[in-house]
Structure formats: C-alpha cells, structure tokens
Amino acid sequence: MIELSEVRKVFNQGKPNEFCAIRGISLRIEAHEITVLKGPSGSGKTTLLSLIGCLARPSSGRITLNGRALSGLPERFLTDVRRRTFGFVFQHFNLIKGLTVLENVMLPAYPAGPEWSALRRQAQQLLERFGIGAKAGYKVEWLSGGEAQRVAICRALINDPEVLIADEPTANLDTKLSREFMEIVRMLKEQGKTVILTSHDPVVFAAPVVDRLIEVRDGLIAGGA
C-alpha cells in the first residue's frame, strides 16, 4: 500500500521560472488494485507517478510504502526500493537502441548480479508469456509499437516487482493494441500485482478491470480520491 500525505513538487524552486506541478496531494493507493490517474496534459499526472515510483523526490510532504517512509531515504536505498518494488513502462517505452530485445529485458536485473543463465531463462520465459519469444534476438529498433510495448512490460517485470507503473501506455497504440494492453493489465492483476496507470484514453480509464479512477487537475486531485 502506497500513501501520500500533503505531497508537493516544485520545479526550479527559488528561480523566476518556479513552477509548482503538485500542490499538496494526499492519496492512498491500495495493493493488488488497478488505479488510473486521469487528467489533461499538464495536469501533473506524470509528476505524481514519478513521485509514487521513487523517480523523483517531493519538495515537501511524505510518501510511504507499506508503512515505510520513502521521501527521506538516501539515493542508494531509494534506488534499491525502486528496483525491487516498481516496474516502469514509459510513454515512449524508452528501450535502449542497439541492444537486442532479450538484453533490454535483462537490463534492470544487472545491478543485483543474478546468475546469467537463470536471468536469461527468466527473460526468455517472460517474452514467451507475452508472445514475443521469437523476437528475443532482434534489435529493439526493428519492433512495431505493440511489440516494443510488450518488451517494455517484460523489462518492467524482470525483477518481479509488486507494483507496475505505466505512463500513458496506450498513447502510441491503436485501439486494438490498447485493448490488448488492458488485457495484459488484467492478467497482471490476477497475479496479484498492483498497477498504477496514467491516461486520458477511454480504452484505459473506462475499462471494467480498473478498480479506481483518480482525476488530477492543476496539480490537485479533482475527484476519485
């Protein structure tokens, strides 16, 4: 369970271009549920997702994960929490070009130093599960949008995280692929994962599998919290 209390995020603090993206949000995200953060562009959804996923620190306020405060942790411990707890699917997938599908999937596990053959086997199994096992040796730049997203999901799941975070996951997909993505999300929920998504795509926020919809507007929660 993730809890945010009076969280604020200010960019360029003290400078003429100071901008407050999150203006005091308190929120509780339950485990094993699918939560969607909905809102227009510039509403602060992505910033909020970054704060929840330990990609950024709040300017003020407190974030806890299963009762453990995260906001004050030193960078090293925060990275460790991020690696073990969260898996990320970015809007543009952010796969590393020039590497193969398999190498991209294995990448988040490198700092933990697992046995290579076991890691490779695990990555291959994940790719098989998402129907792209045959493309393990392909360079990622050769993949279609849907395939690239599935690789990004496999990469997010390689460390077996509790929480999967996806930012605008269907922004670069057509309706058919978007529905396929939501089917994957449903599967992950069944496996007990917590899924947090941002989207303004009705295919995502109106999907029956979604447990909770939170509307974000101007850095504040407009509804659903």
Binding site: T46, T47, L49, S50, L55, A56, R57, E75, R76, T79, D80, R82, R83, F88, F90, Q91, N94, I96, K97, G98, L99, E103, L107, P108, Y110, P111, A112, G113, P114, E115, W116, R155, N159, D167
Partner: protein, 377 residues
C-alpha cells in the same frame, strides 16, 4: 562476493556493447588517440635511446680531456705537457691523442680520422666505420684515396670495417696509424690534438681539472660528465623541437577528446536516465562510463606505445630520424637496444590516460546524480 563479481561482469559486458553501439565515434576517437600516443611515445623512446647510447659510448672515454687554446681556438698541444700532467697527484695516466676531420668532396661527407690508442696499424692501412664503408661500397682489401694536407693523393688500404656496438659514433670514423696521420695532416712529432687523462678517484676530477688550469693557464679541461650533459641537452632540445612541432596535433586532439569525452549527447543522457529509472544506481552508471573511457584510453595507450616501440626499436624510428639524430650525409644505421623506462611509461600514462578518463567521468557524474524522472518527460 560472487554477486559482486557477477555485477562487474554485467557492467563490463554492457560497457563493451555500449562501445560497439557507437562504433564510428569510438573507433575514430581510438584511432586519433592511438596516433597521438604513438607520436609522443616514439619521440620519448627514441630520445631516451639516443641518450642511453651516448652514455654507453662515453662510459669508455677518458674522465678528463685537456685541450690547448690559442686566441680562443683549440690548438695542438706540445708533448711536454704530458710529463707535467702525469706529475699531478691523482692522475693515473696521461696520453696524447691524435684526431681530426677530413671533408670528402666526392661524397660531400665529413670523416673523423683518429689514431687508436689500443690498436697498432701498419703504414698505409686504415680501419673504416660502417657508414664510410657503405658510402664507398667497399670492404676489407679495398683502397680509399684521400687528399693529404700537401695536396697529394694518399691511397690507404682498408684492413677492417668497424662493427662497433653503437654505430652512432663509429659510422664516419677512419682509424689510421700515427705515422700516416702525421704525414696526412702534416703534424710534427711532439704535438698532439689533445691529451686524455685518467684519474684514480673519479670524485677528484674537478680538483684535478683546477690543478691542470693552474699549471697550464692556456688549456681547457673537459670533463666526461660535461660531455654527457651536453649530449643530454642536445637530445632534449631536439625532443623539444619535435614536441613543439607535434603540439598542434596534440592540442587538436585535446580539444577533440575533451569535446567527445566531456559533452554527453542527448542520446547518452537519455540512456543514463533510463538506466537509473529501471534500477541502476548512480555508482553503477558512473562505473560503467568509467570503464568506457578506460577501455578507449587504455587500448589507445597500449596500442600507441606498442606501435612506437616497434617503430623506434625495429623500424629505426623512420619518422623522426632526421630531426632527432641530426643532419648528416653518413647516416649511421642506428638500431637502439630495446629498452623501457618505467618512469617514462608512467609519465606518458599520466599525460594521456588520466586526463581523458577524468574528462569522461565529470559530465557523467553530473548527469547521473540527477533524478531519473527526466525520462518520463
């Protein structure tokens, strides 16, 4: 421990694949870097080899040479000086030396004619250096005709060709007997070109030199260590000229390397952000980039140094030979004895590998300590 080793293996593996992904950039950098190390190392190795060779040769020369000066010019020394010099306390032996220069207009080269102290030569016989033999394409039994001081041609039979351990000083040498020498240059008996002194205690050389000057104010004593110092200065000066000539290239490389190493491309910054976002620690990213810089600079250093070694010791330093060795018609075939000086290697390493690696780390450190949320945007 096993996990730590595996982690390093993953990092190195990723580093190598990262280098291969930017093949063109890294290969270009490696080539230019190797070339610079090669040029610098060649100059250093060759100059050092020349200095060392000069040291080896001079080790056998007398500790003190006494020349007579007339009107500020080097003049012949009367044999009477020898007896007086032998009387100075601390002088073990004193010999008169006979030597001179001869310009050969046929091949436009200068020879050094010398009467050897340790070798008796028959009348009309000479021993020539390898350079002289090469220039005239002659060997044992052939005749070399030189024009004596009185204008008469003097045919001399080659009894032997010198195979000195260092051709540097023997290339232009012609050894001949005392009688031939005196006849050739028309120098009377009882006169020498200069005098060579050997001393009992090498630490007393300076004191003996002072005594010589007091005894014969018209003489100039030359110490072996002074000759060595002059050789060092000459070679250092020549090394300096080459380094100045190369400085343009070095500066261009420094700017090129600094630009490549210190500026991260948008693609590289994005990659650092992704790696951090998916769970890599700042130290992992820095270590990975450190390995990247280290692989390039170490490969360039080893490659450049190895090429320079081959160039200097097996290719006779063909690129720098004329500048570093001096200008001459009779080029000695100089093959220096392969030698590596630890301090020299360390200096070159410090001047090339260290700045490059440091230049790569600073911008990576700056990029890696930022929050990874930039990749979300």
């Amino acid at each position: 421990m096993l996990t730590f080793i595996r982690r390093q293996k993953y990092l190195i593996d990723y580093t190598l694949s990262s280098l291969l992904r930017r093949k063109t950039k890294n290969l270009g950098l490696l080539l230019v870097y190797t070339l610079i190390v090669f040029l610098l190392a060649s100059v250093m190795l060759y100059t050092h080899a020349l200095q060392r060779e000069a040291g080896i040769i001079l080790a056998e020369s007398p500790e003190l040479i006494v020349q007579r000066m007339v009107a500020g010019r080097h003049d012949l020394v009367p044999a009477e000086y020898l007896e007086a010099l032998r009387g100075i306390r601390g002088v073990r032996a004193a010999q008169g030396r006979l030597w001179g220069y001869y310009y050969d207009p046929v091949v436009k080269a200068n020879y050094t004619l010398l009467v050897p102290a340790d070798r008796a030569l028959q009348r009309g016989e000479i021993v020539v250096g390898a350079g002289v033999a090469r220039t005239h394409n002659m060997g044992r039994g052939d005749y070399l005709t030189l024009r004596a001081a009185d204008g008469k041609a003097m045919p001399l039979r080659v009894a032997d060709v010198l195979h000195h351990e260092s051709e540097l000083v023997s290339a232009d040498l012609i050894l001949l007997g005392e009688a031939d020498y005196r006849e050739f240059f028309r120098i009377d008996a009882g006169l020498y070109t200069d005098l060579a002194l050997q001393v009992r205690n090498p630490r007393e050389v300076r004191t003996i030199a002072e005594k010589v000057t007091r005894l014969f104010p018209d003489t100039r004593p030359i110490l072996r260590e002074e000759i060595l110092r002059t050789y060092d200065s000459i070679f250092n000066w020549r090394q300096g000229i080459v380094v100045v000539l190369l400085s343009g290239a070095i500066l261009a490389f420094a700017i090129f390397a600094w630009d490549k190493a210190s500026g991260l491309s948008a693609e590289e910054k994005r990659e650092i952000g992704i790696l951090k976002a998916i769970g890599w620690e700042t130290s992992d990213v820095i270590r990975m980039k450190f390995w990247e810089g280290a692989v390039i600079s170490l490969s360039a250093f080893l490659g450049g140094y190895l090429l320079a070694y081959l160039h200097v010791f097996y290719g006779a330093a063909m690129l720098f030979e004329p500048v570093l060795k001096g200008w001459a018609v009779l080029y000695p075939a100089f093959r220096p004895v392969p030698f590596i000086d630890g301090l020299q290697v360390a200096t070159l390493f410090f001047l090339t590998v260290f700045p490059y690696t440091a230049a790569t780390i600073v911008p990576v450190w700056r990029a890696a300590i930022m929050d990874p949320d930039a990749v979300m945007r």
